[in-house]
């Protein structure tokens, strides 16, 4: 009985269905030296919910891993890059969110934030109709957006129902 209650709680509690970014791999242009990378590291770590940050100067890749339950937004990640005088390019993200919209125009909503993305397949088509209204884990690429903006489209590579 206890086990059944725990399973029920984990399945239907808000925490279990918390929508959030889990990982963001952001390509940053313009970092030439150690202080540049350190500045990015400090700025990203300052975002509430960020667990770890790794910066590779030679590839420009900034890998951000987030804690469960975070409410960080893409705007914050982009701002952390812009305030240091650099440019953010495409971002590969892994996120959990609610699938809304329609079968022909699906939208991913990151609850607790203002982030929502129109979904387009990166390659091939995946039938998302059965996932509408459900919380999904999605991985894909957010294309580069102009300074101060966040892309409104996510080119997803994989979508699975979150458990």
């Amino acid at each position: 009985m206890k086990k059944a209650l725990i399973v029920f709680a984990l399945t239907f509690s808000p925490a279990a269905l918390q929508a959030e970014f889990q990982q963001v791999n952001l390509t940053v242009f313009g970092m030439d030296c150690a202080p540049c990378a350190h500045a990015i590291h400090v700025s990203m770590k300052g975002i509430e919910g960020v667990n770890s940050v790794d910066v590779d100067l030679n590839t420009g890749l900034v890998t951000i891993k987030l804690n469960p339950g975070n409410r960080a937004t893409m705007r914050q990640f982009n701002e952390a890059v812009e305030k240091n005088g650099f440019t953010h390019k495409d971002a590969y993200i892994v996120a959990k969110g609610k699938m809304t919209g329609t079968a022909s125009a699906p939208v991913l909503q990151i609850d607790g934030t203002t982030d929502q993305f129109a979904l387009t397949p990166a390659a091939g088509g995946v039938d998302l109709a059965s996932l509408l209204g459900k919380t999904v884990t999605i991985a894909g690429v957010l294309p580069q957006a102009p300074k101060g903006k966040v892309s409104t489209t996510l080119h997803y590579k994989s979508v699975t129902e979150a458990r």
């Binding site: 030439d32 350190h38 300052g46 590839t59 937004t73 812009e82």
Partner: protein
């Protein structure tokens, strides 16, 4: 609170030069502070000549208002003196404060930037007197402007810069106008292009030049007090995360100055320490 402590340190310590946080030691360069970044520099700067050696120490601080606009102040003090010509590449005893604006910024690829920065500073006489010919002049504030442009990348750096300084008259005396310029090339060897949690080294070749006009004393232009010189030398910069140490020397490759007034300046050197405090603050949702 930490920012206030750093500011207090900057004001308490004496100061000098073009010392940049993570740029060249003597020449003009383009980097500015990140938004809300506080930088603190302190160092020792020297000019050795046949009529004495000028040793100075200096502290400067900068604060990034935006990613491309930094306000800064520099408070030098001399603790040795020599009869040397006016120089803006290695400061004397004047205090300065101003702003640097990175007005052009092109980020073209991973690890590479092409950018241009202009600076405007107000210079005021410090509490210490000058030495040599300049010590005989009544002192007045001045204005210094400079522009630098160049490339920063993981492997190479190249900057060109120029500046102009003009002082006001005081009791019919006037320090000379100064035109200064620099060309800097930097290189980081492949095996030193490492992670940011390891020491980051790079070497520079710094060519700097200055032309100072004639000194005006009691309303009379002092003939032969104009100077032109060109300096070249190596410098090295080492950085670990937010701490930087740089240093180097320069020797004259061309010198046109009255030896009777200024002697023969033979060597310039500098050692600089920088601390960079980055802001973790970003906006909310």
């Amino acid at each position: 609170m930490k920012s206030h402590i750093l500011l207090a340190c900057a004001l308490a310590l004496p100061a000098i030069a073009n010392a940049a946080d993570h740029g060249p030691v003597f020449g003009y360069a383009t980097p500015v502070n990140s938004q809300r970044e506080l930088s603190f520099d302190t160092g020792i700067f020297g000019r050795q000549g046949s009529l004495g050696t000028q040793l100075s120490t200096g502290s400067g601080f900068g604060y990034g208002i935006t990613p491309h606009l930094t306000v800064n102040a520099f408070l030098p003090a001399t603790f040795n003196s020599g009869a040397l010509p006016e120089s803006r590449m290695i400061a004397g005893s004047e205090w300065s404060a101003g702003a640097s604006w990175r007005f052009q910024h092109s980020v073209t690829s991973v690890g590479k930037r092409i950018e241009s920065t202009g600076s405007l500073n107000l210079i005021v006489p410090g509490p210490q007197p000058d030495s040599g010919l300049l010590a005989t002049l009544h002192r007045a504030p001045g204005v210094a402007g400079s522009v630098a442009t160049g490339l920063a990348s993981r492997s190479q750096y190249a900057w060109l810069g120029g500046g102009y300084t003009r002082f006001a008259q005081a009791s019919h005396d006037q320090r000379p106008d100064t035109i200064s310029w620099s060309a800097v090339y930097g290189y980081r060897p492949a095996k030193l292009r490492r992670g940011y949690d390891q020491w980051d080294y790079r070497g520079f070749a710094e060519l700097t030049g200055e032309h100072t006009g004639n000194v005006r004393t009691s309303g009379i232009v002092l003939g032969g007090s104009s100077t032109t010189s060109l300096w070249l030398g190596p410098t090295v910069l080492a950085i670990l995360k937010n701490i930087a140490i740089s240093g180097g020397v320069q020797a004259p490759v061309f010198r046109d100055a009255s030896t009777a007034l200024y002697g023969r300046e033979q060597l310039r050197f500098a050692i600089n320490f920088s601390y960079l405090k980055y802001s973790a603050q970003t906006s909310g949702h």
